[in-house]
Amino acid sequence: MNWTDVLAFARGPLFQVALLVFIAGMAYRLVRVIFLGWQVDKVPARGSKVGGAAISFLKGILIWPFVPWVKNTFKKNPVIYLAGGLFHLGLFVVLVLGTAHMLVWKSLLGFGWKTLPLPIVDWMAAVTIVAMITLFINRLINPVLKLITGPAEWANLAIVFVPMVTGYMMTHHLWFRYEALFSLHMLAVDVLLIWIPLSRISHFMFYFFSKAIHGADFGKRAVEP
């Protein structure tokens, strides 16, 4: 077996299985939580729940969760805001606005879109990698993060890190043979896809729940969320 075979496997059957696990796993998680039941809120509102939820999402969309809307919190923990924000921004740019990934989306969805020039995407990828290393170090030294970080949290960072780094190395033809790197990249992506529904990386789905709850809870009290 050579790298070409590995690549074909990682891009072909394994990728399809991983994608299936990802979709089925996330659907299971979603359904599981929804069917735990919801108490109807009978409290008469002072303000608008929907309005509150809207503001909550406006303040929290895409990279905005990393804007410290609350006074005095940024300077106490700037690393998480900056590195966390740049990491997610970079992730978005690379995965959605990079040509290579757009073509993958196109093959899956059937349509494509305009992408950013390669140097910008490449630069953002580098920023993302630096940001992830920063987050990693921060997890090692911040006392609160030390307390709440277990194997699963380390795995989250590592499993997102590998596809990012291998992807970056591919565009720069660093070290290995291209096919070897591409294979590693695809294997790492497959692992990531399977890992997401098993881990807290699924936060992007539950984000829509918690942000809506937050907005509604504040909105009904006529307080800005």
């Binding site: 919801w38 923990n77 805001y81 307390l147 709440i148 936060h203 937050h214």
Partner: protein, 419 residues
């Protein structure tokens, strides 16, 4: 096995509301920077996310495949009695349920309400700090955690009516508005009672007090015990039904307002057609509609600032009214602390913390943040609309020997009334 009771309670409480928020947490630790107890002490165990750790573990181990696998592999441990004892100290002594953390959390997780669920589990298992529990039991038996029995209630009110020459209508059937004081006001700040009575009388309000509904404080709510929370709420509603009022006014007590206005409807059948409001909201309305007139600039010396209470402002929504009032009373002297409004820093004494002697050191430490805030603007008077905050401020001002006057908003309004 206390841990088993806690676990069962957690699982019973875990519906979509709890689960979806537990799932959303990215373990980023940002919420720590919101908590005055963490900021003041640097103890990572006071991070809000850590306070819901057991709730999270119970959820994962019961409801998720990964949680079950982690338990089998020994990566996670099941909850033990030792855990319960440790966390009981953390969630009762180092949390005022102020919910500031939910504003900082990038996922918007309502940590305050989730910590309340944690307390519920602990209360079912009876792992509650002894001081707090003693107060709860006192309220069950005597009707008040501060020993305001029927006799004490009547004699205190008689004395207030006498001392401040104010009319205090009692058990008036057919009155529009039932006003219920907290025992903190009755025992520690009686001048507040006189002040609120003066304001209501000046506005021509058809109001009454009730012997049945004589205590608005709800220590069952602090404890997180649903049964006792309902028991104390029921006493209030019984009084309201008996007198046939249309409105219940909670006086300067924050968590009582949270329990009555924002929680009771989801716990029990609240009598229909009764509006529940807070005295600050009512005074704000009086001022807007011209039912009372205030002497402009009545308190215009020095630097006057307002402390936002977590349960009346951030979680009660009465943020504008105090400002409107203070812009009349102290047009030049009024100055905001930073941060303020819904982002305000908690006084450190709410959520039952001030009732627990063992929490004194961190309660004082947390107040340090408030001192910084006041010193930055050179405050000479700090005004508030919650008598629990006021108890904490009065105690801390004495403890730290500060040169700041602590004032209740209603009292300032009463002093500035013009006929």
């Amino acid at each position: 096995m206390e841990s088993q009771i806690v676990l069962d309670t957690f699982i019973k409480e875990t519906g979509g509301y709890v689960a979806s928020q537990l799932e959303a947490c990215t373990r980023c630790g940002m919420c720590a920077e919101a908590c005055h107890f963490y900021q003041a002490t640097g103890n990572p165990e006071y991070a809000p996310v850590w306070k819901i750790e057991l709730l999270k573990r119970a959820y994962e181990q019961r409801f998720t495949l990964v949680g079950k696998a982690k338990l089998l592999l020994g990566i996670d441990k099941s909850i033990t009695d030792t855990d319960i004892a440790d966390f009981s100290k953390i969630v009762y002594e180092a949390c005022t349920m102020c919910n500031k953390c939910s504003m900082v959390c990038p996922m918007g997780i309502q940590l305050g309400p989730l910590i309340h669920e944690v307390r519920s589990g602990f209360s079912e298992a009876g792992v509650v700090p002894a001081d707090l529990m003693a107060a709860v039991e006192k309220q069950v038996e005597e009707g008040s955690p501060l020993g305001v029995t029927d006799d004490v209630y009547e004699s205190r009110l008689e004395w207030v009516a006498d001392e401040w020459e104010v009319e205090l209508p009692m058990d008036v059937k057919g009155a529009d508005t039932l006003v219920i004081f907290s025992s903190i006001e009755i025992m520690k700040f009686p001048e507040n009672i006189a002040a609120i009575a003066k304001i209501l009388n000046a506005a021509g309000e058809n109001w009454t007090l009730s012997k049945k509904a004589r205590e608005v404080v709800n220590f069952g709510f602090y404890e997180g015990n649903e049964e006792r929370t309902i028991m104390f709420l029921q006493r209030v509603f019984d009084g309201a039904i008996e007198l046939g009022v249309k409105k219940i006014v909670v006086t300067e007590c924050g968590h009582a307002y949270d329990a009555l206005r924002w929680t009771s409807y989801n716990l029990m059948d609240v009598p229909k057609g009764i509006e529940i409001t807070h005295i600050v909201g009512l005074i704000g309305d009086y001022l807007r509609t011209g039912k009372i007139k205030l002497k402009e600039g009545a308190f215009n010396d020095g630097v006057v600032t307002f402390h936002d209470a977590c349960k009346i402002q951030r979680r009660g929504g009465h943020i504008k009214e105090p400002r409107e009032i203070l812009h009349v009373l102290s047009p030049d002297a009024f100055k905001e602390m930073s941060p303020s409004h819904e982002e305000s820093i908690c006084c450190g004494g709410g959520g039952g913390v001030i009732a627990i002697k063992e929490a004194d050191p961190i309660r004082y430490a947390a107040f340090g943040l408030k001192i910084d805030q006041m010193e930055k603007i050179g405050a000479t008077t700090v005004v508030m609309s919650c008598s629990n905050c006021r108890l904490q401020f009065t105690d801390c001002v004495q403890h730290f020997n500060l040169d700041v006057k602590v004032a209740g908003l209603s009292q300032m309004v009463a002093d500035a009334l013009v006929e």
